[in-house]
Amino acid sequence: MKRLRLERWSGQLLTARSIPARTRPCCLRQQQQAALPPRIRFSSSAAMLSDDLILEDGEELEEESSPSDTKYPSPPLEAAFNSSKLAALHARLNLSPKLPLQTMARTLVDPSADSNADFNNAALSSLGGSIMSYHVSEWLLCTYPRLPMTVLFAASYAYSGPKTLQLVGKEWGVETAAAPGEEVDPGHLQFSKLKPGQALQSQGGSIRPDSKSYYRRGMSSRVVYDDEFGDTVSKQAEHDVPLPTEHAYASFVKAVVGSVYLHSGSAAAKTFVKNHILSRYLQIASLFQFREPVRELSRLCAREGFEYPVARILSETGRRSRHPVYVVGIFSGKDKLGEGAGPSLGEARTRACVHALKAWYLYSPGANVRVPSDMEVAGAQEWEPVHIDMGEVIH
């Protein structure tokens, strides 16, 4: 379905009067058609557009505006009350009645479907995205205080990355509309889909100052310049470009978190993130990949003042056979740090070193460790400082 570019048709009119860009021209055209009942759209969390309408009073509109042009790119807000899908979704998520169905409908409209910022979920999703990434990262940092930066990025991507949020949105039972439009049920996720085989459009480059290809993109620069997953932030996201389904689902889930925050408060938003995002089971131990574990472990022991790690054979079988098995332990002084089994002494030692390093990095003060946002509750106990590690081993 081809979408109507209503903004472009009356562009000269708007520039002449220097009206703010958020004015919706299709609302202006309503006044000429006295026969049709007046349809004033207003968003639950956006200001009404009536002040903008007054500016256009007495202005002659061009003749080519016909009743068929009164199409909106997204369903009108009164349709939210008639949608069973939307009500079911609201009930299924056990949301507070303070969160109205209009807002719920607005979270499902992507900027690629409706470029008007008063009717799409861009603002809600950027608010919800920052709330979600805050709760995920504070939980990760307090629960696993020694995680290396790469693993921290990968873990937050696995918890709140677009692929996971797509899974979450599908588990909530949200389906996508075939194409956005006024006639779509507001319970569907509306965005303009990327065609199969079509290349992802570059989003106008990144905001990094060193965006040349020959610059190194190290971990420290990712912390400074890039987003919470260590990926580049695009310079300006264009609204009308079609986007992959996972990104549309991700912005929808983030927008739901943002609307819960706006209507029910920060405690409800935190509970929502805890229940839907942080409750998922992630094997953090499988996110590690080492390059030189033996050397890294010896550097770690030197840094922390432990004795030099020594690999010792705990048990072995079939040394002269085709398939020997060695069990090697890494000892620092008399304490065993790690243990690994392998078909050769070298591999068993490597596995034991990897095991010891993972045991170091995956130290956790406990699953129910307090996070900084727990202090926002009235009458919270005094804050005990969490463990802060000096950082990963550099070798």
């Binding site: 692929k163 054979i313 690994g340 045991a359 130290y363």
Partner: protein
């Protein structure tokens, strides 16, 4: 840590559990041809902790006899716990009882004596570089390390700045090793590739 960013398929990461059925099916396989032999085969003597003896406690108690398994990475060793952690005191109280300190440690993997290091002076290093410059064919790294009683790694560090261009030697050595690998048959080649793959897997701990 590897400096690259790790991206695994999300589905794999979130589906870590649920291998119970497979192990149940595996244990219910029958290897004996008759009921009597099967029963005899499965009639294993129980562990001593399950048997009631005069030493066992008189009241109800918990028998802790876990099957042998590789230790979990989520059990932080006592040495790795930070100083302010509350488990330090608890573990220190029970450590002596649970795993008493062994009087003799197991044998180390490598019995090679360690090379002395930091014992060569600047004059020795200059001598190493002079020998290599004057007679590069005669003095290779191994011979130099034996003469100066240091590791060949240290020799290679010294010689990297001595002004001797070793690209030709490196190229010849690589050609020699490639020639040897060319003569390998399919078995040896596959064994070599498998070994490399196993080491990659060991670094990921899978």
């Amino acid at each position: 840590m590897d400096a690259r960013l790790i991206r695994r398929p999300v589905i794999d990461l979130f589906s870590g559990r649920g291998q119970c059925l497979i192990s149940l099916n595996a244990s219910s396989q029958r290897h004996q041809s008759s009921y009597r032999r099967t029963k005899q085969h499965l009639n294993i003597k129980p562990d001593s902790s399950f048997l009631i003896s005069n030493e066992s406690p008189k009241q109800d108690h918990i028998i802790f006899n876990p099957p042998s398994a590789s230790p979990s990475v989520l059990h932080t060793p006592f040495k790795f716990l930070p100083k302010e952690d509350k488990r330090r005191q608890l573990l220190a109280a029970t450590a002596e009882k649970l795993n008493p300190t062994p009087s003799r440690l197991p044998p180390p993997v490598s019995r090679k004596p360690k090379m002395p290091h930091h014992h060569l002076s600047d004059a020795d290093i200059a001598e190493i570089q002079r020998l290599k410059r004057d007679e590069p064919e005669k003095w290779n790294n191994l011979k130099l390390s034996r003469k100066f009683n240091c590791s060949s790694m240290f020799i290679s560090i010294c010689l990297s700045q001595c002004g001797y261009d070793d690209t030709a030697t490196r190229k010849a050595e690589k050609a020699r090793l490639d020639g040897i690998m060319e003569r390998w048959g399919p078995r040896r080649r596959m064994a070599h590739e498998d070994k490399l793959k196993r080491m990659e897997i060991a670094l990921r701990d899978e």
